[in-house]
Symmetry: C2
Subunit: 169 residues, 2 copies
DNA sequence: TGTTGATTGACAGTATACTGCCAATTTAGC
DNA sequence: GCTAAATTGGCAGTATACTGTCAATCAACA
C-alpha cells in the first residue's frame, strides 16, 4: 500500500482551522462532562448561572448578549435551570413582556461547589501544552474571538447588561 | 455605577479556554454558513463528503473514526447526504451488517464547486490575526487537538480506514 | 391619541452531539 | 459446530445551536 501518507484531501481537513476548532470544542465539552459528572450541569448552563449571579434580575435577551449564546437556545437552557430550581423567573413589574432571572440558594450553592471542578476543566484543556505555549495560545485565542465578534451570529455585548441595570437603579 | 469593570466572575468565563473554543466554533460555523449559502451543505456534511471521496466504500463506523465525529450523529448526517443524492449506500456483499458509502457524480461535482468557498472560510477565520500569529495559533491548535485526542469521546483514528481498505484488496 | 414599529418570550423546524439501548450479524473461544 | 462476545447500524432521549415566525406588549412618532 504505497499511498498511506497521501490521503491528500483529508490532510486539508485535519489542518483547517474550522475543523480544529470543532474538535477542540468537542474535547473541551468531553472534559467538562467528565469532571462535572457529579453535578447535573452542562457548560452552557454553567456560563448562564455565572452570568445570572453576576447580573441578578437580568432578562433572557440581555443574558444571551452577555454570554453570546443564541436567544432561542437560551430559552430551553433557562427552562432546564428553572426546573432544577437553580434559578427563579419573576415577571418584571414595569414591563409585562420580560421575565427577570435570579439565582436561588440552591443555584448559589451549586456554583460554590462546582467551581473546583470547572477550574480543573480549564486547566486540563491546555495541560498537554508547555506553559509558555498555553499562554501564547490563550492570548491569540482571546484576540481572535474578540476580533471575530461581529462575525458571530450572537456578538458579545457585555455592556448591555449594565444598560439594563441602569434602568432599575 | 462604580462597578462597571469588576464583573469579576464573568471575566473568568470570558478568558476560560472552554468558553473561547465554544465561541470560535460558533464563529467558524457562522462564517461557513455565510460563505456556502449557495450550496446546501453544513461543515460536518462537507467533512463527511471529503472523507468518503478519500475512502470510497468506507462504512459508517470507520467514517466516524476518520473524521472523529460521533457515530450516532453521523447516522443522520449520512441519511441527509443520501437524501440529497450526494452519496450512495450499498450493502456490503461479504458482511450483511455494513453499508458501504460512495460519492455520487452530484456529490463529486458539489465538492468541486464548493472548494473555493470553503477555502475562503478557512482563510476568513484567522484573517483578523497577523500572518505570523495565524501560523503560531494554527500550529499550537494542531498540537493541542492531537495531544488531547484521547480525551475526545470519538478519538481520531485515521488508520482504521486503511485497515478497512486492506480487507478488500 | 392612535397607529406603526420595535422588543420580548415562546414556539416550530432543522442540524449537530452525545448517551444509551437494541436486533441482526459476525467472529472468537471452546 | 455451538455458544458467547463483539460489531454494525438504527433508534430513543437529551442538550445545544440557529432560522424563522408569532402574539403580546411597549415605545415613538405623527
Amino acid at each position: 500500500m504505497p499511498n498511506n501518507r497521501d490521503n491528500g484531501t483529508m490532510d486539508a481537513v485535519y489542518t483547517a482551522p474550522g475543523y480544529l476548532f470543532r474538535r477542540m470544542q468537542q474535547i473541551a465539552v468531553a472534559i467538562f462532562v467528565e469532571e462535572c459528572r457529579d453535578f447535573d450541569l452542562t457548560p452552557v448552563q454553567y456560563a448562564a448561572l455565572i452570568a445570572i449571579r453576576t447580573h441578578p434580575g437580568i432578562d433572557a435577551t440581555r443574558l444571551s448578549a452577555v454570554i453570546a449564546f443564541d436567544r432561542s437556545t437560551l430559552g430551553s437552557v433557562i427552562e432546564r435551570l428553572e426546573t432544577k430550581s437553580y434559578i427563579e423567573r419573576k415577571p418584571a413589574p414595569e414591563d409585562k413582556r420580560v421575565k427577570l432571572l435570579y439565582l436561588t440558594k440552591a443555584g448559589s450553592n451549586l456554583l460554590r461547589d462546582i467551581t473546583p471542578a470547572v477550574d480543573r476543566v480549564q486547566s486540563r484543556i491546555l495541560q498537554p501544552l508547555k506553559p509558555a505555549d498555553r499562554k501564547t495560545l490563550l492570548t491569540l485565542l482571546e484576540q481572535l474571538v474578540d476580533l471575530n465578534n461581529e462575525s458571530s451570529r450572537v456578538p458579545l455585548r457585555a455592556e448591555d447588561a449594565l444598560e439594563h441595570l441602569g434602568r432599575g437603579s
